[in-house]
Amino acid sequence: MNIEDNYLKNKKNIFFSENKDIQTHREKLINIFKDDRFDKKNNESLKNINLKNFIDFKYKYLIPEETSVINNNQENCYSIVSVNGQCSSFKDDKIEITKIIDEDYNDFSKNDTIEKNDHFVNLNSLFLNSGFKIVIKKNNNIKIKISNIITDDDLTIFQKNSYICEEGSSLNLIEEYENKNNSSSNILNVIKLEKNSQLNHFLIQDNSPNHNLIITTHSSCKKGSTYTQKVYNFSEGYVRNFHYSELIEANSEADLQGIFFLKDNNTSNNKTFVKHLAEDCKSNQVYKGILNDRSKATYFSNTHVDQVAQKTEGYQLSKGILLSDNASYFSKPELKIYADDVKCSHGSTIGPIDENAIFYLRSRGMSKIAATKILISSFINEELSSIDNEQMSEIIQKKLIRYLSKVK
């Protein structure tokens, strides 16, 4: 079924179908797909994937029967269960959780930083069926854990979430994606950090082989705010993590980190695009991958330093270990600098595991497999040891041990 027919057939189940402006926007999107001129060579959203598989899908959505928000005020900790992309509304003096409304959609669709030719974001806007908005109120310091659950096979979740950290607030956000059914999630997160706020965002991805997960995040940071994203991808299904970040006021910071562990025929596509639009801002991007068997990964990194963004510090680093001759990792770090007083660097190192290090460890009595595993662990040691959340650290260590148990 073509995109237009698919949309028209399911229109009544899609959010904001009655809104004329939104409908007009969606018609434009349909025309993009109708043109069918997909630039596979230059469009980073199309690398390593067959777009047809994602366009030609059977739409299916079920409204969840039960969602929950549990808060423990003593620890300022909230547990949210998001079912099929939706969660319960909730309000107290620290946070407010609501469903997304028409105005939020406009906020997403008018965003210029997110590429207009990102077909997955366009699909998300077209078939939107879920999402929520969370506001962290001024000067509050809280933790939120979100478990993302999909109830049935064959569900296609198109979800938009909005996070707003008000002035002086601090949020530690842990998101778990551990879906075992045959389904797909296409999620767009839009995150706004007001003055002097902070968001530490952990994403743990561990889906089964038949679950596709596409996450696109856009963050914007105002004066003195910091957004930190750490993605740990252990999924056996396809995962796309794209991140667009704007440092719009002075002394703001974006720290983006992604570690992925791939095997079999799995693919992971990663992209970061950081815009420095004000003075004295910092960005740091570290992406590391371990690839076994016939797995594939891409990492596109782009740091754009506007001419007003003096005293910028912008760093990009990507590293990969290929455990098999058939694994591949394509990395393309780019810097575009229009200011003259900046410190920026980029680097990329991809290759097999260091044979000299293996020999050294084996010459002390360690088996080849033990040496390989210890070197894989050491490759990501710096990132793992920087996790200051004990529970997260334990979860990731367990998943790492599971991944290593399959390395031969």
Binding site: Y360, R364, S378, F379, E382
Partner: protein
């Protein structure tokens, strides 16, 4: 015979490095191999330790009644062979203490000995490090990472003293060491020397042999041992160089 190398020929990337090399080492002996750059000394050390880049063209090596070529790299280490590297590899993220603990226990396991527990190992490591003038803080670091040349060599000797090998091969352990560090390292080696273990010391210079007295000195040129004798050969080389052996 403790170590017997018979008629060994080895090549790498179509280049013959070792040519019909013969060497016998008995238990409790210290042998030194001296030779000019490119004579094949480090190749011999690497082949003994099991590095897989080399192609064995001919010959055999027996070590403690084992055909060495039947043992892989780690099995050789577990059987008691130890190579102190000329250029120890930096391994960021691999902490020294658990690495060495794991190494000693892999050897004990092969020897059907009881594994050493955390506390006993920590005590052993601390005591051996102190003997070698190694700061305890260094043991919290990653293997060879950020070490100076002297620290790397001292750390190699620390590993050797912990693993207590039957045959230790020291590949140019003296290179990059100042006189004080050389003394500390050689003291460490001398403390380990017993009637039951053997040493194969590879060096360019006599200086190292002033501190570790060899029973035999061999001159290696162009992949073969061309002369063997006692300490007087080292003095001869110090005086006249390797020219006359080539």
């Amino acid at each position: 015979m403790f170590l017997e190398i018979k008629d060994l020929s080895v090549k790498i990337e179509n280049k013959n490095i070792l040519k019909s090399l013969n060497l016998n080492i008995n238990k409790g002996e210290v042998h030194a191999i001296m030779g000019p750059n490119g004579s094949g000394k480090s190749t011999l050390a690497n082949v003994l330790a099991g590095k897989e880049d080399y192609e064995i063209l001919n010959g055999r090596i027996n070590f403690k009644d084992n055909d060495l070529f039947d043992l892989n790299i780690e099995e050789r280490a577990q059987e008691g062979m130890f190579l102190a590297f000329q250029y120890p590899v930096e391994i960021p993220g691999v902490n020294i203490t658990p690495f060495l603990h794991s190494a000693i226990n892999s050897k004990r396991k092969r020897m059907n000995e009881e594994e050493i527990d955390n506390l006993s190992f920590a005590k052993l490591l601390k005591s051996k490090a102190s003997d070698l003038g190694i700061n305890i803080d260094m043991l919290k670091r990653s293997v060879n990472t950020g070490f100076s040349g002297g620290e790397k060599k001292r750390y190699e000797i620390l590993q050797m003293s912990i693993l207590n090998p039957d045959l230790a091969i020291l590949d140019e352990t003296d290179s990059g060491l100042d006189i004080d560090a050389l003394k500390i390292v050689t003291d460490g080696v001398n403390k380990l020397k017993t009637k039951d273990n053997s040493f194969l010391i590879i060096t360019h210079y006599q200086k190292l042999l002033d501190y570790i007295k060899p029973d035999y000195v061999h001159v290696m040129v162009n992949g073969s041992i061309v002369k063997s004798g006692g300490s007087e050969i080292a003095a001869e080389i110090e005086k006249d160089g390797f020219q006359k052996f080539q």
